[in-house]
Amino acid sequence: MTPLRRYWPVAAIALAVIVLQAALSVTDATYYMTQVTMSAYYALVVIGLCLLMGYAGQVSLGHAGFFAIGGYTVAYMTTVNLLAYRDVPLVHWLQSLHLVVQWQNLYGAEVLSFSPWPAFIAALLLTGLIALLIGVPVIRLKGHYLAMATLGFGLIIYRIVLGTKSLGQADGISNVPPFHLLPWLEVNGRAPFRIQNYYIAWATVLLAMVLAINLVHSRVGRALRSIHQNEEAAHSLGVNTYRYKLAIFVLSALFAAVGGALMTHYNGSIGPSEATVMKSVRYVAIVAIGGMANLWGAMIMAILLNFLSLRGVFGTFDDAVFGAILIAIMLFAPQGLLRMPKWHAVASVWRKGTFYFFARKLPDTAGESEKSRMSPFSRGGPHG
């Protein structure tokens, strides 16, 4: 594939983003941009998870945990008050480097805390470190074991966030200051910054997409796909499967952390609801709808579904909608919504199902690619 063909969707999306902004501004409906911006930050998590699930073939039910680590780290570092330690030489030194700044919060109180850039970098370092520590043992696991282990990780993060006093427990952390990326560019959720932030979020998403696409089309991407297709074969051909899977796990955690950190600055707050298992499952659902190994599908679905959810379109059925989507996609269109099989194939799932109900013998399912990967009878133990 020529590079030009590879990147034309980036240009197309960029154009669509500009057209959407113009349309919203003309119709005086810029308030929609708030939800689009938030959806874009969620899309970052989904892009990372898509690399992990679709290309490396590893499931993670703990990505909301990484989002929360990113978000909570910046929230804590930019709001913790170091005023009492202002005379400590280290703090003094950091202040002279502008890594620690003094500012006034909403209530006019003086706060001496880390400035957003060092907080952001610390968040990425912390997330990377945690992902590595968790990934080293966990990524060796397979199937159910990996799913449960990442789920367990997500639950621990949720419990820690909910139980730690300095992280605000059930209230979370609020009053997070805006993030000045550049002197004239800031991540800020207030109304005058709406258009600016709409573009910041989209630029981040498109940057992430370009990174992901490049990765997928590189040596690493080919290695990953070989792992997904047949891990033993890849291994025997000299692909260090473990190291590649671990690297993608850490990378996708970092994507989630960037989303969490920027979202926290944008909203000015973060709460434990960002770390729930349901959020993690939601990311998985979106990747599945997008088509697992389909970065564009995942990104578009992430924007669309999160936008609808944030607008409250699903009402009290918010979680149920994602559960239903998850089942429907896995039953009828495991290749994702954007690569729907033809309708007769959809019907055949049920025909086959009812056939199974009455017939004893397995009908010949040759040609079903998944068959070779995992027969229903093989146990798939923890390491093989």
Binding site: M53, M148, I327, E370, P376, F377
Partner: protein, 296 residues
């Protein structure tokens, strides 16, 4: 801690532990016939208890529980026929995701049917204030009901799998599906039956524990995590070991609660889960070399 206190914590640990064990046995039944982990296992307990609570408003307790178990059993069977059977040859990832989706759907349906209020069945004998003295500790008679029911379930299942033709057919399917099929066993029916069986015992466990822990629509997921921890601790597919592991986890939790803040109670099981997954994914009771052979 003095002796009666130890007995007190120990008994409360064994009580929850036996419920974890029943959830784990439910996991094992489905796992050994299909090779999948049913993430909706915890929901069976809550559906069972909620149905019994609603039915008890018009029916006597024993009848309400019986009907609730039957309803949940049918639900389990339906789940398999409608959602698992059509995609039986699918990858594990796909099947996991389907059961996760099902657990969400069931939970959300319960939220809309029974709102978010905690509900409970009445104590089977006596009231919430009646106690039985055991070695200087005071326990509720319901604890005896829980322990008794768990013991009956485990014993019943053991007899079922060992001596009835259906139970033996299920074990044959778990061992070698192709061979079982060649012997004339209807393997598809065995899979459906395994879902029904684990839904049924789940519902019963949910009913007996309801007076003690109350029942809320979103309690299924934590129960499933703990049940899974126990199932792994004992070694997947090994039901007897799951009982021992369940009691171990229950005791561990009870003593952690007695020493630390109860906020950390939930973390105990997950830490145990992560440790066991990392260091001994074949379970505590399987020798490492044998486990490696089995897992291969």
């Amino acid at each position: 801690m003095n002796f009666p206190q130890i007995v007190q914590y120990g008994l409360s640990g064994i009580t929850v532990g036996s419920i974890y064990a029943i959830v784990a046995v439910g996991f094992n039944i489905i796992y050994s016939t299909t090779g999948i982990i049913n993430f909706a296992q915890g929901e069976f307990l809550i559906v069972g208890a909620m149905t019994a609570i609603s039915l008890h408003q018009i029916l006597p307790l024993w009848l309400a529980i019986t009907l609730a178990v039957i309803v949940t059993t049918i639900l389990g069977g339906l789940m398999e026929v409608v959602f698992i059977r059509p995609v039986r040859n699918a990858s594990v990832l796909r099947l996991i995701i389907i059961t996760i989706g099902l657990s969400i759907l069931i939970r959300e349906a319960m939220l809309h049917v029974w709102d978010e209020q905690p509900r409970y069945l009445p104590y089977f004998t006596g009231t919430e204030s009646s106690t039985v003295g055991v070695f200087g500790a005071y326990i509720s008679p319901q604890v005896l009901w829980v322990l008794g029911t768990s013991a009956v379930i485990v014993a019943g299942l053991t007899l079922f799998f060992r001596f009835t033709p259906t139970g033996r057919a299920m074990r044959a399917c778990a061992d070698d599906r192709m061979a079982a099929c060649l012997c004339g066993i209807n393997d598809r029916w065995m899979v459906t039956l395994s879902f029904m069986l684990s839904a049924g015992i789940g519902a019963l466990a949910g009913c007996v524990i309801s007076p003690v822990t109350l029942t809320q629509y979103d309690m299924g997921a934590p129960l499933a995590i703990k049940g899974f921890t126990v199932a792994i601790l004992g070694g997947l597919g090994n039901s007897m070991a799951a009982v021992v592991a369940g009691l171990l986890l229950g005791l561990l939790e009870a003593f952690v609660v007695s020493q630390f803040a109860s906020a950390y109670k939930e973390v105990v099981a997950i830490v145990v889960l992560l440790l066991i997954l990392v260091f001994r994914p074949t379970g505590l009771f399987v020798r490492r070399d044998i486990g490696a052979l089995r897992a291969a």
